[in-house]
């Protein structure tokens, strides 16, 4: 059984997580500096999150279909994303075993990994609050 009941719940949780990242001055500044448009494609349940920092100054997050043309796209099961945000996924291993697919300039996506680490502390509370399920970290 997936850690997310359906697409709506997945979108809600991810949107709140990205809002928290946006509100964190350090993470927000570094992600804006990347000038990336990153799209996360999830499955089981399906979901689509687009993070747009392309102009270097604004930070917009969209759930569901988007007309934006992403620079980097990541594809994974929603449960792999859940484990990732808990800080439990070895990204190299996930890539070698095919659990994560990276489309586009991978180096740009990798540059964001250390930037996002503080979000591993934020996510469990967001997941717990939205889902009501205790998360072991």
């Amino acid at each position: 059984m997936s850690m997310f009941a359906n697409t709506e719940e997945l979108h809600r949780i991810m949107a709140e997580l990205w809002a928290a990242i946006k509100n964190d001055p350090d993470m927000s500044r570094k992600i804006k500096e990347s000038k990336l448009i990153v799209q996360f494609h999830y499955r089981d349940p399906n979901g689509l999150i687009t993070v747009d920092c392309s102009d270097g100054s604004s930070f917009n997050v969209y759930t569901g279909d988007s007309d934006l043309k992403p620079i980097v796209e990541m594809f994974m099961k929603a449960d792999v994303a859940h484990e990732f945000w808990l800080g439990k996924v070895s990204v190299p291993l996930a890539i070698l075993t095919g659990k994560m697919v990276a489309k586009g300039p991978v180096n740009k996506a990798l540059a964001l990994l250390p930037v996002l680490k503080p979000a591993f502390e934020i996510y469990p509370d967001i997941y717990k609050k939205r889902n009501g399920t205790k998360v072991s970290t």
């Binding site: 796209e73 070895s90 990204v91 190299p92 291993l93 890539i95 070698l96 075993t97 095919g98 994560m100 697919v101 990276a102 489309k103 586009g104 300039p105 991978v106 180096n107 740009k108 990798l110 540059a111 990994l113």
Partner: protein, 401 residues
């Protein structure tokens, strides 16, 4: 044998337990003198009728290609010889276009890393069509490509068995990385005769590239399979024993054979476990200043090993003892003896030990920061066993300079 340093761990109950791993090995490997002539038969075995034969002008002029072509009849291949040393997207597109127009249904690549990578990426275009950039990334191919046979003429890149390929986009000034299990060639032909004409400096540099693949994949953050470990260990033994001979006496077929096999073994290892900070630095330096990949790896290797020492001393020590470089009881001491052995091999085959000897200018702060950022975001670095900061990377660069 000190079992604690291997990939087998002992459980509380005393039973031995293997770490979980995935090991891909989709390439049929044929080895032997004159086996290059069997390429045409392999094409037919793979159910194909006409091959795009990708190579470069140097190999055409050297006559190396003749042995490959000898098995083909007229009309069974299209020769594409325009791969430059630093191949790019334009070359890939041009090769794929030529193959489509000629009705080719498979690819045969004969050459060094640039030729093999060009052929692999051209095969994406030939097989799937569309915009090449749609396939950039890792695991971003979802279907099998047309059959590809790789025939290396250098002993270093391991591209003949690897699941990755890189080409430059000179217009955008960047390197495009493609990584997928579908990129591994269907067959590799290892004919040592094809490597005999490789000049000593390139023999040495490509050999050190293979050695770097071994050491980095043996200690990669998630390597840990007995398959990759055994490949690395035997490949290193072959390289330490035979690379000096292959470099000094190019026509020594035994040494050429050993280094060619060692390179392929190292390729199989790294494509399953990744590399590390040495490759990240070599990619960044090569991209910015055009240095030769193998040469740059050889300079950075002892410095990268020294940086990783505290994280993987036991793994280095294991190699040092198994390869006969150390009898020291302490891991640190044994590990340092491996680093010393690497330096000695590099010196013995005549390679420079400093970046300045590769013609690199002394970099200023801004340039160093830029290079370190490039290295810090290179995909290779995520497999390094120890995390590194920008300052760490700059320190390694400065020590290597």
């Amino acid at each position: 044998m000190n079992i604690s340093t291997s990939t087998i761990s002992q459980t509380v109950s005393g039973a031995f337990k293997m770490n979980p791993f995935v090991f891909h090995c989709p390439t049929k490997i044929t080895f032997g003198e004159h086996t290059a002539a069997t390429a045409a038969d392999l094409v037919k075995d793979l159910g194909c009728r006409k091959a795009l034969l990708v190579t470069d002008q140097v190999l055409v002029k050297s006559g190396v290609l003749q042995s490959v072509l000898s098995g083909f009849k007229e009309g069974e291949y299209l020769l594409y010889t325009d791969v430059p040393p630093d191949s790019d997207v334009d070359c890939v597109n041009s090769a794929a276009r030529a193959a489509r127009e000629a009705g080719c249904d498979c690819v045969v690549a004969v050459g060094g890393g640039s030729v093999l990578d060009t052929a692999k990426v051209a095969n994406i275009c030939l097989s799937l069509g569309g915009d090449l950039l749609e396939y950039e990334g890792l695991n971003n191919l979802s279907e099998k490509l047309r059959p590809l046979i790789a025939i290396p003429t250098t002993a270093g890149t391991g591209s003949e068995v690897s699941m990755v390929a890189m080409v430059k986009d000179h217009t955008e000034g960047k390197k495009l990385l493609f990584g997928s299990r579908f990129l591994a060639p269907d067959a590799a032909i290892l004919d040592p005769i094809l490597t005999v004409s490789l000049p000593p400096k390139l023999t040495a540099a490509t050999g050190l590239d293979a050695l770097t693949h071994n050491i980095e994949s043996f200690t990669a953050v998630i390597s840990n399979s007995v398959f990759t470990d055994s490949l690395c260990l035997e490949s290193m033994r072959l390289l330490f024993e035979h690379l000096p001979r292959a470099t000094a006496y190019g026509e020594d077929l035994e040494a050429r054979a050993a280094t060619l096999i060692a390179s392929t073994m190292a390729g199989l290892a790294f494509t399953n476990s990744g590399v590390g900070i040495v490759h990240a630095l070599a990619h960044a330096t090569g991209a910015k200043y055009g240095t030769h990949h193998g040469l740059t790896n050889s300079v950075f290797l002892p410095h990268g090993m020294h940086f990783n020492l505290d994280a993987v001393a036991a793994r280095y020590a294991y190699l040092a003892r198994r390869l006969g470089f150390s009898t020291a009881a302490g891991d640190d001491e044994a590990a340092k003896e491996l680093i010393e052995a690497v330096k000695q091999l590099s010196a013995r085959v005549g390679l420079p030990s400093r970046l300045r000897d590769l013609g690199l200018p002394e970099l200023k702060d801004g340039q160093l920061d830029e290079l370190a950022f490039l290295a810090s975001t290179d995909p290779a670095i995520m497999f390094n066993p120890k995390e590194s900061s920008i300052d760490d990377i700059i320190a390694i660069y400065e020590r290597a300079y």
